[in-house]
């Protein structure tokens, strides 16, 4: 982790900023819910905020927050290309659950996930799997190989 554990104030600053991202994600989700067909494109904003939360949570060694943000990110990506209203509705419902959990975990960031959050995460992971699973990701080592072989 890049930040020394005794820099509590810096962690608090990060967390406060992440809470702001969660707020943007929440208002975005409300707009999608109000007009699922017209505002489907806003899933990308939600996805971006989840990526920011995931990246920063990883930086702070808060993997439980990174994990749920990662699920939210992937479900949002599915929502952006969902062809049917029923699928968009399913994504929106799942994202509310994911966002509520992210917000709870940000408020209690030093705690590990409880049984209730674990059940929810498994449910969201199952939902994501039913939608075709997460997109293909590459590790840092694979990126190295891709960069070396670029030409």
């Amino acid at each position: 982790m890049m930040i020394a554990p005794n820099h509590e104030q810096k962690i608090e600053d990060f967390i406060a900023e992440l809470a702001g991202f969660a707020q943007i994600a929440e208002s975005t989700l409300s707009r999608i819910e109000n007009d699922m067909d017209g505002n489907k494109g806003l899933f990308s904003i939600f996805e971006e905020r989840m990526i920011a939360i995931r990246g920063t949570a990883l930086q702070l060694s808060l993997p439980h927050i990174a994990r749920i943000a990662g699920i939210g990110e992937e479900i949002a990506a599915k929502g952006a290309v969902a062809p049917a209203r029923s699928q968009i509705r399913k994504c929106v419902g799942s994202l509310w659950d994911a966002l509520t959990t992210v917000k709870y975990l940000l408020e209690h960031y030093s705690e590990q996930t409880g049984e209730e959050q674990e059940i929810l995460m498994h449910r969201l992971e199952a939902t994501l799997k039913a939608m075709g699973g997460a997109r293909s990701a590459v590790s840092a080592d694979e990126i190295e190989v891709l960069l070396r072989n670029r030409n």
Partner: protein, 130 residues
């Protein structure tokens, strides 16, 4: 060029992350480190100051880090800048997009000091800045 003369621009929309990266670069001996939070600010800074390396987050709001990279690579005055993408974004397609667009290297969050140092030195050496 001496290490202390190298100018680096950090573009990152998370305040605390931006401050951390700047502090690390300063600790490595880079004295000239500028920071900003989005592509519009970065573009304005590049037009007025000279840099050898850009560290850029992928998700910056209206204009993405990828779009900013593409702008840099097609701009006559900036096209030879070293460019490292710093992000948690590691879906295969997007990584390939960055590589096709001419990124020099890629830093995946969580960042470690050693990883940043390796990548920054690697790109500066490759670009014959150091």
């Amino acid at each position: 060029m001496l290490l202390g003369d190298v100018s680096i621009l950090v573009i990152e929309d998370v305040n605390a992350m931006r401050a951390q990266i700047k502090m690390l670069l300063k600790n490595f001996g880079f004295r000239k480190v500028a920071v900003c939070e989005d592509a519009a600010q970065a573009s304005a800074i590049l037009d007025t100051e000279s840099f050898q390396l850009v560290l850029c987050d992928w998700h910056l709001g209206t204009v993405s880090g990828l779009e900013f990279l593409q702008y840099v690579r097609t701009h006559a005055s900036h096209k030879d800048l070293g460019f490292i993408m710093v992000t948690a974004e590691c879906t295969r397609d997007r990584v390939l997009d960055a590589i096709k667009s001419g990124v020099d290297d890629y830093l995946v969050k969580p960042l470690t000091p050693g990883q940043i140092q390796d990548k920054v030195y690697g790109v500066l050496l490759k670009r014959q800045v150091l």
